[in-house]
């Protein structure tokens, strides 16, 4: 009997490995270094190196590690999105970290670990890998959520997130088990091939996996944790997870449904469409009446998950590339919006009330204008990035003969304009309150730079959507 050792090639995993090494370096240096602020820059360097590595990888559909992971254009696109999100999130956290110096190393390392999980989600071609990646990204996020130890709300949010996350993971894992039972396969292609003629066991498996994905990307009714967690977590963490976890979650979600379940679109298409309607309507209606800007954006992120899901529910090529484009556009505008909150929130409060926005344009004209651009983009006003995200996914719905879904989406966008524009109205057209004068906005160049990057991309993607859409199309093409 001969035992053949599997050949192990880790080269396609290099971007993730670079991030892992950086994270470990950060942890090690943290124990020696007196000046901790260099850790963020080190992490940023690692992110950039990982980005360069991503670029230099070949774009073929290469499977590796026993076909558990893929380094196809799809994975590389997600890598790129996650790395951009990570870089901007690091910059957003810079100032906050300087007031939490003793935790700096852990924060940065956890952020990078989480990013590794996110990237692996995009590359995973096997439900087990998806699960492991999901746990890597989630566990880091649970800890990060509770990072503002001086605030009870932060700890509470972390605990809630952890409990519910564990609950959802159990569903996911049970779904994996059932799918394996029905098809005898863990890898997506294998599941897809053996799906025909399967019975209730496979159906239940799909439903439970869907629960897991829905929880991660915050689809109604699996979204209940979102407002509390987003509000309680340090704002820089909220920014990171609102776009990162969503991008990674959707990445695996999309790959699973299009590779493993391509044949049974008639079954899951309507279900996803229903989830999309429920999610965007619920998110938008709940966002209307929020007093905390972070909470408002939490509900808004639920609504955006609904819009993005339209692309998946459409089930066609435009829907896939539209969804990828959406994730990218959403990353910039939402990071930007949270960045402005970080700029304006009172030290130690970790939150910003709507009334604190009153008349901020008077004292901070540039910041208010920047926020207005992000809000307009989130509302989907042309010619900003957010508009094109919706343009493509709704276009995909129309193409898939689901015009009604596109119309629901457009009505929802109209509803959402109310609460997004309310931010601009408060900033520009209302006299400042007396108690808003202590809104902290001392000179923070790093944060300002991060905002500028987000702003440039929100406008740039809106003016030149073709370039990004082309990348998204290439990424989605090989999933077929």
């Amino acid at each position: 009997m001969t035992i053949t050792l599997p050949s192990i090639s880790l080269l396609p995993y290099l971007p993730e490995i670079v991030l892992l090494i950086t994270a470990l370096l950060v942890l090690v240096i943290d124990t020696f270094a007196g000046e901790k602020r260099w850790l963020v820059w080190l992490a940023l360097l690692g992110t950039i190196v990982a980005g360069v590595t991503t670029w230099s990888l070949s774009l073929g559909p290469t499977l590796y590690l026993q076909d558990m992971l893929a380094a196809d254009p799809y994975a590389l696109f997600i890598d790129m999105v996650v790395l951009i999100i990570t870089a901007i999130s690091l910059l957003l956290a810079y100032d906050w970290l300087n007031s939490h110096a003793h935790q700096q190393g852990e924060y940065v390392a956890l952020l990078l670990f989480s990013a590794v999980g996110m990237m692996t989600m995009g590359a995973a071609t096997n439900v087990i890998t998806i699960f492991v990646a999901l746990e890597i990204l989630s566990l880091s996020l649970y800890v990060l959520t509770g990072f503002a130890r001086e605030r009870l709300t932060s700890g509470e949010a972390a605990l809630k997130y952890f409990l519910l996350g564990a609950f959802a993971s159990a569903f996911f894992l049970y779904g994996v088990a059932l799918l394996y039972g029905a098809t005898g396969h863990f890898d997506l292609v294998g599941i897809g091939k053996n799906m025909a003629g399967t019975g209730l066991m496979a159906a239940a498996g799909v439903a439970l996996l869907l629960v897991g994905f829905s929880f991660k990307v915050a689809l109604a009714p699996f979204h209940m944790w979102t407002p509390d967690v987003y509000q309680g977590a340090p704002t820089s963490v909220t920014a990171f997870m609102s776009v990162g976890a969503k991008a990674a979650g959707f990445a695996a979600f999309l790959r699973f449904f299009h590779v493993a379940l391509a044949g049974s679109y008639a079954t899951w298409g309507p279900a996803l469409a229903a989830l999309a309607v429920l999610t965007m309507t619920w998110g938008n209606l709940a966002a209307l009446n929020q007093e905390s800007v972070k909470r408002m954006l939490a509900y808004s992120s639920i609504a955006h998950a609904g819009y993005a899901l339209v692309g998946l529910a459409a089930g066609n090529a435009l829907g896939m590339s539209g969804l990828l484009f959406y994730l990218l556009a959403y990353a910039f505008m939402n990071l930007g919006a949270f960045g402005v909150i970080i700029m304006l929130e009172k030290k130690g409060s970790g939150d910003l009330s709507m009334s604190a926005l009153r008349g901020t344009a008077r004292e901070h004209p540039l910041l208010a204008a920047t926020m207005a651009v992000f809000m307009f983009s989130l509302a989907g006003v042309p010619p900003l990035a957010g508009f094109f995200g919706k343009f493509y996914v709704f276009g995909a719905a129309v193409k898939a003969n689901m015009t009604w879904l596109a119309i629901v989406g457009i009505i929802n966008s109209a509803i959402s304009a109310y609460y997004y524009l309310r931010v601009s109205v408060l900033m520009y057209m209302v006299e400042p309150d007396e108690n808003t004068t202590d809104v902290a906005t001392n000179n923070r160049p790093v944060l300002a730079f991060a905002l500028l990057v987000a702003l440039v991309f929100v406008i740039g993607i809106g003016l030149w959507p073709g370039i990004w859409m082309q990348m998204a199309q290439q990424a989605a093409a090989l999933l077929g």
Partner: protein, 627 residues
Amino acid sequence: MLNYAWLILLFPLLGLLTNLILGRWLHDELIGWIASTAVFLSFLVAVGLFFALRSLPADGRQYQLLLWHWMRVDLFRADVKLLIDPLSVVMGLVVTGIGFLIHVYAIGYMKGDQRVQRFFVFMNFFILAMLTLVFANNFILLYVGWEGVGLASYLLIGFWFEKPSAAEAGKKAFLVNRVGDFGMALAIMWIFKLSGRVEFLDIAKNVQALAPEATAITLLLLLAVTGKSAQIPLYIWLPDAMEGPTPVSALIHAATMVTAGVYLIARTAAIFLLSPFTMTLVATIGVVTAFFAATMAMAQVDLKRILAYSTISQIGYMILGVGVGAFSAGIFHLVTHAFFKALLFLGAGAVMHAFHGELDIRKMGGLRHKMPQTFWTFAIAAAALAGLPPFAGFFSKDEILWSVWLHSPWMWALGLLTAFMTAYYSTRAVVVPFMGKPRDKHLYEHAHEVSAVMTVPLWLLAIGAAFSGLLGLPHISLIGHWLAPVFASLHMGGEAAGGSLEWIFMGLSTLVVLAGIGTAYYAYMVNTAFPQQFRRSLGFIDNLVQHKWYVDELYMAVIVHPLWDLGGWFADVFDRKVIDGAVNGLAWVTGEIGGGVRKLQTGLVGWYAFSLFLGAVLLLGYFMLIW
């Protein structure tokens, strides 16, 4: 050169960005010069484009420049793509040339204002938006410019937003324009649905695809035109728009905004010609607007309001011209009008400057002694407006009237009557403030000529107002030949060359103009009691004209008040009972549930988990039933 056409958009953008970012540290005057230089460079580009096109054979003067792909889904292809043809170049020359002079004038006019930076950023944006509109090769990009122009006008009309009237005027302009834009958006969608295209040249090539619905589509486009070009029924925003700084009025009236509608009809002429009904309606709206606005201009006592109504009236002529298929005549009038109307507004601005904001012509008089340069330039512009040969307005108006005669005699008669009134009110606008004796001694004493940065643009415009008519001399019309390739395939018939009859008509309209001028001179210089007597003899018509035919009141009663009431109902009943009820109800429900769960001491997490569980049950049920 044609490949560098994008520069024409780049320069105003650069000017805008420079002033936006660095303006805070720059001197006000420098800001003004940066903005003006940007527009001037664009003007040079336009000149370059003109010569580049001219060097091509006449039927090849059409160039499309793709800058980048913008929105593409299947057949829907809206790119950032420019169309350079004789029509867009003429418009580009007007927008940048006149726009530049207005910018320079504004440097002097806005001196001492608190927000010079903001002003010039908006002005550059206005030019940028208008150029985008003019050079767009497809409906979507045109729409971007169309909306940009609307936004810029809102910002600039309401520039002195501390004044409630200015803020109101800005709002009014914006809202009225929205009505028109709505028509535009629907028309674009409809055109795309029928033809599957949004690029002008593609649409023109396959225009027959639109034939079945052409009337509806063109009516929607016409709605957009009436909004932007201030025609009946959507003209009401323009008279209020003079609440903005005077250079803004000049820009809106002459170069950038109201001409957009005329341009739109000319650009989409192929579609309009599919529907004879709409064309007749266009011409009718034009001539009726020209007539009514002229009556209103005769009754105004505010100098800028006289000019505002005269713009509506003159745009009416242009619409009339394009409505009878005389597209190049309409554009020709647009060009000459741009010169003399910009000049009139800038002259009025100079008077306003000298008079500390006073605009009531009844308080003026004898100003020519104090402000000779303003007087002479204003007089030249008024002569052009009146249509006195050989000033610019004469040739362009006459060409329109001649085309109208071939088409519909009654429109021609109304047009000629309007020409009489135009001559009358133009003369009045010169005679009352500038000649005779000062009426308000105190104001008169303080009046003074304005600075050179303002008078030089006046003189340059005056040259245009005096001589630009020569571009379109009958039979050897330069502008007609230049525009001919654009409208080559678009004839309505009946455009026979007139021969001697045309000369007789020219003589006739000269006589009418002279009669108008004579009447006004008699009424305001010789027998000053005449206007009063005349009005008394008119009885209730005078009252109607005085109150601008009660159109504003009509709109208030029929549209604004019902909408207010509806809005009030929504706020009081719907919002409070239904929406608040729903929100409170939802809050109550979640509160109750939350309270219930809290009693179990698990905190809200239990409820969240329950909801998750419920969702899982639903999904399981669905998938297991449907599989």
